[in-house]
Each structure stands twice: as structure tokens, then as C-alpha cells.
């Protein structure tokens, strides 16, 4: 099937299953992922691996836009109000999830290197699917604010932990021993470069966006500017071997702090991006290999269980320490379960940097992603509805209008 027909099918199936899942009170995102699984090689095979590879450029753009949206949580006033509590919660939930997963892997006979990598990757929470569920349910309130902030910090912490783990493995397995300081430098450089370089790139692109946005008034022009900047950022990050995720976050953060028109810009984005997000989640679903569930094994099951426990109890502990409201303490962990995006990207990094460790790590992570991408968005919906934050954004908009 050619790419245009594939895109048409993706959008129509996304619409169809997005509607169907609403009858069973499941988030649209889960419907999109099911549409991808149905169209993909695991079921109907109408979308081949080649189609998915060709269309992955849409995924990159969509992920860039999603992270750009999340970057808006770093608005100065918001950081001052929520900064420390969010950081404490993120540290607790990522730290405990990582320790439990690594411990379970060691207990099941995995090497310390595999355990370290699994622990680092388990820290991640799928930003895209979580944010999409929040948008679908027009949520607003303490849980939504905390959740958005935690996801942003969580992804950065995951990236730092993974880069540190990779450096430790390099140092510990003697790769650097034979190359001396040059080996240590080669191991540490990616850690610094991925964070500082990506933030610097995102800042520069965000500066360009903020400066130009003040001179652009028409809705269409705003979208062109935004799309151009996000594409430039993602493309440049890939070219310079930086993290597109951190760079996109930095673009959003810069924009929200430097431009007075940022709300208008984020609003314009929200009205235009649904088809792109639908494509992103359908492709993510088509890329899920259901046959991996069979080969998940005890380590895979332990990963799923340990990560879920770590996220739920870690978030609860962090929220308790930060004295966040009771609803947030109860439901924040449930809404942090989604697992994809960066985790999948890190499995590719494992395959490239540690080919001998890749089989053990990649199978476990990808099979867990299948489980979490199906049930993760459901957890977010349950949390939003239980706290009563679902639909509050519409109410507040109506109040503002009145």
C-alpha cells in the first residue's frame, strides 16, 4: 500500500475506533492504539513495517509538538508555585520504580548491567498518551497541573539516569580501561551533550519562535511558524545527535517564558494538531509487536509489576512529602503508568551502544510497552474522573467568557 492510502486508512480507522471505545468509556488514545494494532502487521497487515518506517516522520513531528506543549509547564510563575513539589514527586516515583525494577531483574538472575538499564528505562512515563487523555477530557485542577509537571521532569530524569547508567556500564565493563581518559570522555560526553546541548538548541529555537510570534497575527501564519520551528528543532536535534525530546521541551519552556502571546499560540496548536496525534498513536499501535507478549517471560512480568508498584507508591510518597491534596496523592501514581515514546527510543540506544545486552533489555521493555500503552491511558482517565478534574477546563473557559 502506498503512503497516501496508508495515511487515509490511519485517519479513518483512528476516527472509527476512537468513537467505538467511547462506548466502553475508554480514552480515545487507546482506540487509536487499537486501530494501529488492527491495521499493523500483528493483525490485518495493511500497514507494513515499511509503511510504518516511512510514516515515522509524522511521529517525530507529533512527538515534538506534544513535548512542546508539555514545555509550557515550565512557565516561571508555575515553576515557583509547583516547582519543588513536582521535583520531589518525580524523584520519588522515578527513583522507587527504578529501584524496584532493577531489584526484580537482579532477583531473577539478570546481570547488573541489564538491571541498571531496565531500571533507568522504567522511570519514563509516556508523555504523549498521558497528555492526549488530559486534552480529551478537558481536565484542569491540581492533579492535572502536578501530572503535567511530573511528566516533564520525569522524562528529563529518565534521560539523565539512562545516560548515567550507560556511562557506569562503560566504566564498569572495562571498555574505558583499554582507552584510558579517552574512553571516560567518550562515555561521559553523551550525558552532558544530550542535556546541555538539547536545552541550548531548544532555547535558541524557542527564542526565534518567541521573537517572530510577536510579529505574526493571522491564525494560519502562527501555525506555519510553529510547525517550522518544531520541525527545525527536531531535525536539528537528530542531526546533532541531541535529544529531540529535551529540545522540544526547551522550545515550549522558552516560548512560554519569553512571549506574551504564548497562550494564543498553544491554543492555535490545540485546534489543529488532532490529525497529527491520531497518526502518531496509530503508528505507535502498528509498531507494537503483540507476539512479544508470548516471549515476555518472568522478567517481563516482573518489570510490569515492579514499575507499576514503583510509580503508584513512589508518587504517593512524593505527594505526601510535598503535602499535596489528598486526591492528588491517591491518583497521581495511577496516571503515571503510560510507557512509550522515550522508552522505545532508549531501546534503540541500547541496541546501538550495548549490542550484547540488547536482546534481554529490548524484549522486556517493548513487551511492557504493549501492556502499558493499552492500560496506561485508562489509568489516566480513571484518575481524572475520580478526582473530578475531567471537563473542568471547559467550565473554567465558560466562566471566563461569562
Amino acid at each position: 500500500m502506498n503512503e497516501l492510502a496508508s495515511l487515509g486508512l490511519i485517519l479513518l480507522f483512528a476516527l472509527l475506533l476512537g468513537h467505538l471505545v467511547k462506548y466502553v468509556r475508554v480514552p480515545e488514545v487507546t482506540g487509536y492504539i487499537f486501530a494501529g494494532i488492527t491495521l499493523g502487521p500483528s493483525v490485518l497487515g495493511w500497514l507494513s513495517h515499511e509503511n510504518v518506517r516511512t510514516l515515522s516522520v509524522f511521529s517525530e513531528v507529533a512527538l515534538g509538538l506534544i513535548l512542546f506543549s508539555i514545555g509550557s509547564v515550565f512557565e516561571g510563575s508555575r515553576v515557583r508555585a509547583l516547582g519543588w513539589p513536582v521535583l520531589r514527586v518525580a524523584l520519588c516515583e522515578t527513583g522507587i520504580a527504578a529501584m524496584l525494577v532493577a531489584g526484580a531483574a537482579l532477583a531473577l538472575g539478570q546481570t547488573w548491567q541489564v538491571a541498571l538499564l531496565l531500571g533507568a528505562i522504567a522511570m519514563e512515563t509516556g508523555a504523549a498518551s498521558t497528555l492526549m487523555v488530559m486534552r480529551e477530557y478537558d481536565s484542569a485542577g491540581p492533579l492535572t497541573d502536578t501530572l503535567t509537571g511530573v511528566i516533564a521532569v520525569n522524562n528529563i530524569l529518565c534521560l539523565i539516569a539512562f545516560s548515567t547508567a550507560a556511562t557506569v556500564i562503560n566504566l564498569g565493563t572495562g571498555v574505558t580501561a583499554t582507552r584510558g581518559w579517552a574512553g571516560i570522555y567518550e562515555s561521559v560526553f553523551p550525558l552532558v551533550w544530550q542535556l546541555a546541548g538539547s536545552a541550548a538548541l531548544g532555547y535558541l529555537v524557542g527564542l526565534l519562535l518567541a521573537g517572530w510570534a510577536s510579529r505574526v497575527t493571522a491564525h494560519g501564519e502562527i501555525l506555519i511558524l510553529l510547525a517550522g520551528c518544531v520541525l527545525l528543532c527536531v531535525g536539528a536535534a537528530m542531526l546533532m545527535e541531541l535529544s529531540a525530546l529535551v529540545a522540544s521541551l526547551a522550545v515550549g519552556a522558552t516560548m512560554v517564558n519569553l512571549s506574551s502571546r504564548s497562550r494564543r499560540l498553544f491554543g492555535a496548536l490545540g485546534q489543529t494538531d488532532p490529525p497529527l496525534y491520531a497518526i502518531f498513536f496509530v503508528i505507535a499501535g502498528a509498531d507494537l509487536n503483540l507476539s512479544l507478549l508470548k516471549s515476555m517471560g518472568a522478567v517481563g512480568l516482573a518489570y510490569v509489576a515492579a514499575r507499576a508498584c514503583g510509580k503508584v507508591f513512589g508518587a504517593r510518597l512524593g505527594a505526601h512529602i510535598s503535602a499535596l491534596p489528598l486526591e492528588v496523592r491517591r491518583y497521581l501514581g495511577t496516571s503515571l503508568l503510560a510507557h512509550a515514546g522515550l522508552a522505545v527510543g532508549l531501546t534503540l540506544a541500547v541496541s546501538r551502544r550495548f549490542p550484547d545486552l540488547a536482546p534481554a533489555v529490548v524484549t522486556v521493555v517493548l513487551s511492557a510497552v504493549v501492556v502499558y500503552e493499552i492500560f496506561g491511558p485508562l489509568g489516566v482517565r480513571i484518575a481524572l474522573q475520580a478526582t473530578g478534574e475531567s471537563g473542568r477546563l471547559v467550565e473554567s473557559r465558560e466562566l471566563n467568557l461569562d
Binding site: A182, Y185, E186, F189, W193, A196, G197, A199, A200, L201, Y203, L204, L207, M240, E241, L258
Partner: protein
Amino acid sequence: VTRQQYIGALTAGAAAILAAGTALKPVRERAPQIVVADPEMERKTLRRSIEASNEWFVETARRARLRLAAVRETGATAIVWDSGGALLAADRGPLDSALHVRFEGGATAKAVVERSTPEFPLMLLRMERTQIAAAPRAVALRPGSSIVIVWPSGFLPATFGGMRSGDCGEALLTTVPLVSVPPGSAAFDLSGALAGFAIRCGGHTEVLSIAWLQRFVEAANSVEARILGRFGMRVRIPEARVIEVWEGASAGRAGVLPGDVIATDVQQLALPASRVVIEVPILRNKRRLTVRLDTRMMEGQRDLAAAGILPADRIVSVNGQPVAGRAEADRLLSRVSSAFLVVQRGERLFGVNVER
């Protein structure tokens, strides 16, 4: 610090980070490739390479044979020379005589001898039907090129080593002996282009170069060449004076001598004759004579030519018996089935076996 200064400092810092990071990025060294010696693998690879080469030679020979034809009357092999229906055959034959050729695929055609000379066992035939096979492209080889020499029942792969001056003209120097190569074989390069054509010359086989063959063919229609080929006498055209007569050829047997002047239209001698023997008036020391010239090539000439003896060569002895001239040698040769001849070519004496 104003907001602008703050933003400016941040921008400079970000640009500096990107510039420094790009400059300091460690260069990934490519892992050295380890060559593993595996005699069995090498043997298999070599075998596959040889098999592939052999398949190529077989295919080239198969294609080349489509352009080879057999002359029914003499059994000689010919190759399609141009798209106008010309064939080059490794044999001699009477000029303008009609012959029949048969191609590999079974197609037959009538052909007329357009150029033949006692100098070389080569003749140019012209087919009446020209759509039988396309002519191969000619090529000038570079030393070291692979070639394949093809004949109707076999082929011989070889390497071209350069050009050499052979007994019959410019010939290909090959890395393999041409003992088994029959006359009429054609040499092709790797792309299937024609590189040479084999004839029997001086008792051995030579693969003549395309350039030399082209010169031979270009002379096909000159009056001098046709008269020389037909009667064995070289005539200088404007004054119609005979400047060379080959012993044993038609003119020599008829008593034509160098210095005689043809007292008729010389062009007529080059045209196909309706009779076997034609009467030609000549002037010798202001006396008018008539000579009878035979238009046929004699059998004895064919045998001597096949042994590499040129019409201008002087036969010194036949089986150890000294002979006075070509006529006496022909008489002695007609009595035996094989003979050893001592031949004088210019200053050089050499021996040659003649099979009849």
C-alpha cells in the same frame, strides 16, 4: 541586569554550548576489520568465480556462433563482417564465383566472392540476403584484456598481450598457444565485440587484428587489388604498366613480364569474366602481343598457400630435389601426397611441409 541583557547572555551561552559540543564531540573510530583466513571458503569462492567465468565464456561463444557461417563448397568458416551482408572467410576462392553459406541456426544464403588474393587465405563474400545475422561491433583491445576465441565446435579463453607483426600482417599476441584454434575462428572481448579473426599463415594460426582486416576489406574494390588477386600481376593504373608478376600465378604462366603494358582497358580486367580464359593484348618493347590469362585459381596454389607459401616466394627444392621454378615444383608436387619444401623469401630460406 535588564531583561534584554539576560536574554542576550542566555543566547550567547546556548550558542557557545552548541559550538563547543560540536567541536569536542568524540570521533567514533571504526572497528578494524579482521580478515579471517579460511582455506575452504577461499577454495569455494575461487571455484564459484571460475564457474561464473566459464559460464560467461560459454554464453559469449553461444552468441558469437550465431555470426559464424560455413562455406558449403570449401568448408571454410566465415564471420559476418558488416550490416551490408559482407562475410569474411578464412579461405581463397575465384573472384566473383558464387558460393553458399550456412549459419549456425540452419539459415542459408548465396554469396559472391568480392575480394580474394593469393597473398592471404582471406576472402570477402557478399551475401544476397543481408538480414541473416547482425555484424558484431569491432573493438581495439588493451593489453591484459580477457578475450575468447570462438569457432563452430569450441572456444578458447585467453588474455590479449598486445599486437605483433605476424607473417600475414598485424596479429594479436595471446597468452595461450593457438595450436588448437582452426582458421575462421573469431576473437571477442568481454563485451562480445569482435577483436580479431584467425587465418592459417606460414604453417601456423594467426589472429589478425581488426585494423588490419579493415585495411584488407577497404582494398576489396580497387582495380589493382582485383587484378592482382585474379591474375597474380600488379599493374600501375594510369599507364597500365605491369610492375610485378607472381611466379606460378595466371599472369606468370601466360608469360607476362614486368614492364609490359596492358593494351586494353585495364578496368575490364577487374570485372567478372564470362569465360575461363581471356585474351589480353599487351605491348612489349613496342611489339604487340596477346596473352591468354586463366581466371581460375589453381589447386596447387591453394595447397601452397595453405602451407604459408606466398606467390612471390621462390621454391628452392621439393623433397631435397632442386627445382628451377614454380612450374617444376608444381609438377613434382602433383606426384606426391606430402612434401618438404625449401623456400626463399627475400634473403631468408626456410623449410615447410606441404600436405595435399
